[in-house]
């Protein structure tokens, strides 16, 4: 009996057969896996990696589309650091990014807190749709409508300002206000996105924690800052990173509203790249600026992840 139950050691031939069978099926599984992810990787290579490689190559050359390319080495990069317009564009971009990240996240959080209540189903739906709708409408339409709102002489914003005794503002024509106008429009448009994301986070906070804190005498603000906010910090971190990357690449809002003007007062770095490449036909120089933007965004994202270790709550 014991002999029957004792496992016999497999022969070497059997071991080879099993090994071959296993390798073959593992190999097939691996091949199947690669085939499934291949389309995504091909698209990633074609539309993400390859353009970066081409831009890097272009950045080392002088090219204007109409004449042969000439090797320029790091001349374009030297010019990037010496060009005051690049610095102005980057400064505008950082101001824009900082403002919209804070604005969209804070207002998105407030709105999420407001709609995270026990309303009737229809009321719930209407409120959430009202705040989310601007996010899904294309920027071109939004910007055209807001350009009318911001019109200095016939815009509705200045009309109401004049009704309360204030002078109209050159929202799009005054260099002190042009960037602010774009910021306001961008915050209004994107609150819906953070609202939806943060709302999901709020709804995942266990009710018992809040109830227990309230029973223990915590005020509303204490519950919010000590329990809710830490628990939704991963969601807020995601919003920060996502909005930062998008804001650093802002183009359409600025192009439609102000085209980067007056002067360079509202010009973002991507608008500068576009102008340099497609208006001045300086593809090499534009590519060099674009590569610096890639590096800046990478550094910013890494910094955000570093700092996140200090304030993001991970269960």
């Amino acid at each position: 009996m014991a002999n029957l139950l004792r496992r016999r050691a497999p022969s070497s031939e059997a071991r080879s057969r099993v090994r071959a069978k296993l390798s073959s099926s593992r190999g097939r599984e691996a091949a199947a896996g690669f085939l499934f992810i291949a389309p995504a990787y091909i698209l990633y290579f074609l539309f993400m990696l390859l353009p970066i490689l081409i831009a890097t190559y272009l950045s080392l050359n002088t090219y204007d589309l109409m004449h042969p390319m000439r090797f320029a080495g790091i001349q374009n990069y030297r010019e990037v650091f010496a060009d005051p317009r690049v610095w102005i564009s980057y400064a505008n971009t950082f101001v824009f990014t900082f403002s919209v990240v804070i604005g969209i996240t804070v207002f998105g959080l407030i709105v999420a807190m407001l709609v995270n209540r026990e309303f009737s189903r229809i009321t719930n739906y209407v409120f959430r749709l009202a705040f989310f709708l601007p996010f899904i409408i294309p920027y071109a339409f939004i910007a055209i409508v807001w350009s009318q709102f911001f019109n200095t002489d016939a815009g509705i914003i200045n009309y109401y300002l004049s009704q309360v005794g204030l002078h109209g503002i050159g929202w799009l024509s005054d260099p002190h206000y042009a960037l602010l106008s774009v910021i306001l429009m961008d915050i209004w448009k994107n609150i819906g996105f953070t609202m939806v994301v943060i709302l999901a986070g709020l709804q995942s906070v266990p009710k018992e924690f809040r109830e227990a804190a309230t029973v223990d005498g915590a005020s509303y603000f204490q519950v919010f800052f000590r329990i809710i906010l830490p628990m939704i910090s991963p969601v807020i971190f995601f919003c920060f990173v996502f909005i930062t990357i998008g804001a650093m690449k802002v183009f359409d809002a600025i192009w439609i509203l102000t085209k980067g003007g007056p002067g360079d007062s509202s010009r973002s770095i991507v608008v500068f790249i576009y102008d340099t490449a497609f208006t001045s036909y300086r593809y090499g120089y534009g590519s060099a600026v674009a590569i610096t933007l890639l590096i800046v965004i990478m550094i910013l994202t890494l910094l955000q992840f570093r700092v996140a270790n200090k304030w993001v709550y991970r269960a």
């Binding site: 589309l65 002489d153 009704q163 002190h176 509203l257 002067g263 497609f278 208006t279 001045s280």
Partner: protein, 437 residues
Amino acid sequence: MKKSTALLVSVLLVLSVAVWASGQQDNSSSGKTVVIKVKNFGSDKDAEAYHAAYLKYQEAHPNVQITDTFVPIGTWREYTAKTLAEAAAGQAPDILALASESIRQIHSVDLLASLDDYIKNDKDASAMLDDISPTLRNGFVLGGKVWAIPSFWNGIYAYYNTDLWKQAGLATPTKDFTWDDLRAAAKKITKRDSSGNTTVWGFAPDMWLNGLSSWVYSNGSDLLTNDMTKSNLKDPKVAEAFQFIADLINVDKTMPRPDADANANGQSWTNLFANGKLGIIYGGHQYTQVFMANNFSNYDVIRIATNGSHTSSYGCAAFSITKSSKNKQVAWDIIKALVSVPVQTLQSSQGTSIPSRRSVCAGAAFLKWPKNAGLFYGLLDEPDGFKPVTAPVNYTEFEAIMYRYVNQVFAGSMSASEAMVKADAEIVQALARSKGN
């Protein structure tokens, strides 16, 4: 079975090749189809007129197929940029509509075919060219060769609202209407309500580079030298012209503040004028289309105000043939059709830009309105009537630089003198780069 399958496949392959070959033979025996690609721009009305011309030509020439990429007018910068990008990608059309703003830039990249031989060998050509003002034709002559045939154009004129003029007690403006006269008239016409909001504006310029050039010309200066290869922005008269406009906006407050988009400004101000909310507007003949659509007829047209010179600016569209076209003769025939009297007469009746043919502009359809409509084409014959819009070989970059600084002057954030000095530095560098290529 396997052998029979192979035999069946072989037979099918041979049959399909035979069918394909016979199809090819059928095409060539009935006359080779010639496909002509046209890239054009203009308004909806222009598109209609050209479409009618294509249909008529194709009826007479059934083996010719015309495909038209018609682009609504945005900015010349964008149109030129797209054209050059398409050419670099090997997608240049056979017939390319271009303009005074882009001729030097497009010519500099060797995109165009000279039309001299087609003109010389065509017995109808001289009658066609004699009907077009030399001022317009010469805008497309570079290096002694003809590169395009003018189709339609626009000069910068001053439209004034005759009712608002009378209400303000102003005398009918004459040929010698000066900048000071304009400033005084704008102040008298401008009205504000009790809250200080302007209800009627005195004046609005044309914000395209054509319009801005006209201010500088009327001050006896230019943005570049006559050969358009060097900057002239340091001439104090240039800054004086832009400061004058800025003062109308920021000091007199008789002009609406412009936004970033020149096209949008033009549309908005034309509507103000057509609704009796603006006393004087500078612009081209295409504004009459808006006035007609609004049933607005209380206006007349005069020359722009002078400050030492009567010269205004014009921009002209023209048809050219690209070097890469494989059907240049057919393209030339189609160009003649597109600038023919019937097509231009149709365009002139719709209030679009001014046809290039003198005979069409002398016709009743063109002259029916406004009262002074003879001025539109007539000014071309005056020695100080018009100069082409300033358009160097790197026009797209030049326009971007000019707008960037002029908008700051109009916003009141920079004086015109300071702006022109800075713009000059950038334009000198930009022109040097364009020569270096």
